[in-house]
Symmetry: C2
Subunit: 301 residues, 2 copies
Amino acid sequence: MKKKIVIALGGNALLQRAEVLSAENQQRSIQLFAQMAAELARDYQLVIVHGNGPQVGLLALQNAAYTQAPAWPLDILVAESQGMIGFAIAQELMPFTGGAPVTTLMTRVEVDPADAAFALPGKYIGPVYPPEQQAELEKRYGWQMKADGQYIRRVVASPTPLKIIDSEAICTLMEAGHTVICCGGGGIPVVKHTEGYQGVEAVIDKDLTAAVLAQSIDADHLLILTDADAVYENWGTPQARALRHVTVEELSPFAAPDGAMGPKAAAVMQFVKQTGNTAFIGALKDAPQILAGEKGTCVTR
Amino acid sequence: MKKKIVIALGGNALLQRAEVLSAENQQRSIQLFAQMAAELARDYQLVIVHGNGPQVGLLALQNAAYTQAPAWPLDILVAESQGMIGFAIAQELMPFTGGAPVTTLMTRVEVDPADAAFALPGKYIGPVYPPEQQAELEKRYGWQMKADGQYIRRVVASPTPLKIIDSEAICTLMEAGHTVICCGGGGIPVVKHTEGYQGVEAVIDKDLTAAVLAQSIDADHLLILTDADAVYENWGTPQARALRHVTVEELSPFAAPDGAMGPKAAAVMQFVKQTGNTAFIGALKDAPQILAGEKGTCVTR
C-alpha cells in the first residue's frame, strides 16, 4: 500500500491574482503542478485539494453581463470552480498516473452558521482592480472591497471548516485506487439544516479544509504548496532564515490569522497535533524535494 | 439489490430558456425533481444525468464582464455547469435518501474529433435574445446565433458521445450504495490525445450520453424526463395521440435529429436495442406513474 498524502495547492499558485485570469494561464500552472504530482505519485496515493480565490471571483462576474437575475450565490460559484479547476487538473494528471483513474468529486464542507467570520469578510477573491474603482464596484455589485498591495480586491467571509460531508465517497474511491481531486476551493460551504444541509455565502480556506480532510481520511502526510519556498523567521529583515524542520510548538508564532502563513501554519499544526504525522509547507516547484527533506519546512509533533 | 435506473433530466426542465436564469428559479425546479426522485429511490438505485443548456450559456457570459482574457472554452464551462447544477440537485436530494450518500462526479465523455457536428453547430445554449440583437451578439462575442421560436439563441456543436471516461468511478460509488449525479450537461467533451484526453469546444446531448452511460453501468432502465408528457403521433393535428407502449421499431420515425423528440427517441432506441431492457420518456411531474406504466411512453424491444 502506498502512503496517502493530501496536497493543498493554492488558487494563486494556479492563477496569479495580478495576471490575466485566462484558461491558458491556468493551464500553464496546472501543467507544472502535474509534473510535480507525477513524481510524487510514484511513492504516494495523492488526494488533491486546490484553492479558487482568483477563479471564484471571476465566476462571480457572470452576473455583470446578465443583469436580469440577482447574482448567483457563492456556494454555487464555489461548486462551479470545483469543476473549472478540478477538470483541468484531472486532464493534466491523467497521462502521468499509468492508467490509474483520476476522479474529481464535488465536495461539500460543513461550517458553523454562527462563525464570527460571517461578520468580518476577509478572504480575497477575483481579479484585482485599481483603488480608484472602489466606490463604483461597491455600488455596482454590492461587493465589499479591501486593499491588496497596490490594488483593491473583493473580500468575502471565510468560516472555519468543520466536517467533510462527502468523505465517504472520497474514501471509497481511494480504496479503489483512484487519485482523487476534492474539496476544491476549500469545499462548498454548507450549514446544517433541519433536513440535510444548506449552502451559505462564503469561501472556505483550502489549507484548513485540507487539514480536516487529511485527518478524516487518515492521511500519512499533508503537503501545502504555495509561492514561498519555506516558512521564514525574521521575514523581511537581514536575519531572514528558512525554517527547515520545526515542531508544532516552534511553528505556533506563525499561525496568527493575519500573517501571510497564518492559515497554512494553523492547518499544518492542527493535522500534526491530531495525528502525530508529518506535514510540509513549501513551493510548488520543489514538491519532490520537500518530501525528501531537502527543501521547504517540515513540521513534526 | 435495488434495480438501477439512469434518469436524464432536461436542462430546460430545470431552468426554462425564456424565464430569468436565476438560482432561485433553478432551485424551484430542482425541488420538484427531488420530490419525484425521492419516490423512485424507494424502489430503485438512481443515477442522475442533467442537462445544462440554459446554464452553460449563462456561464459563457462571465467573459463579457472581464474582457482582459479570451472567453474560457466550452469544455471548462460544461465542467462548471456540472458543479452549478449537480451540487444543487445533491442538496435537495439528500433529505430524501434516508442517509444514503448522494455524490456528484465530474464526468468526461469522449467524442470523435472528426464528428460532423463540429462543422454544424446546432445545440442551443444560454438565454434567449430578441432577433434584432443578432448582429451585435455575433460581433461582440463571436457567437453563432439561430432562431429559437420568436427569439434568437446561441448554438454550439453537439457531437455524439462515444464513451464515459469516468465510468469506473461511477460503478465504484454505486456498488458502495451512493446515489450518483454524473455526466452533467452530457459530460465534459474530450477527444483522445497521444497522452490522455483533451477538452473540445462542444456541448454533448445529455439524453444520448445517458444512454451510453446506462449501457456501460448495466442499468435496468433509462428514464428520460422532459416537458412533454409522452411521445405523440400526429403531433399538432386533431389526431394527436400519446404513445403509451411502443417497440423500438415503432419509435424509429420519431428519432429524426431535427424533431422535438429526436435525440430522446434515438437515446432510448439505442439503450433498448443494445440491452433488451425497458426505457421510458415522459414529464418530470409524472415520474413515478411513468415507471408504473400509467403515464408517459414505455419502449421495449
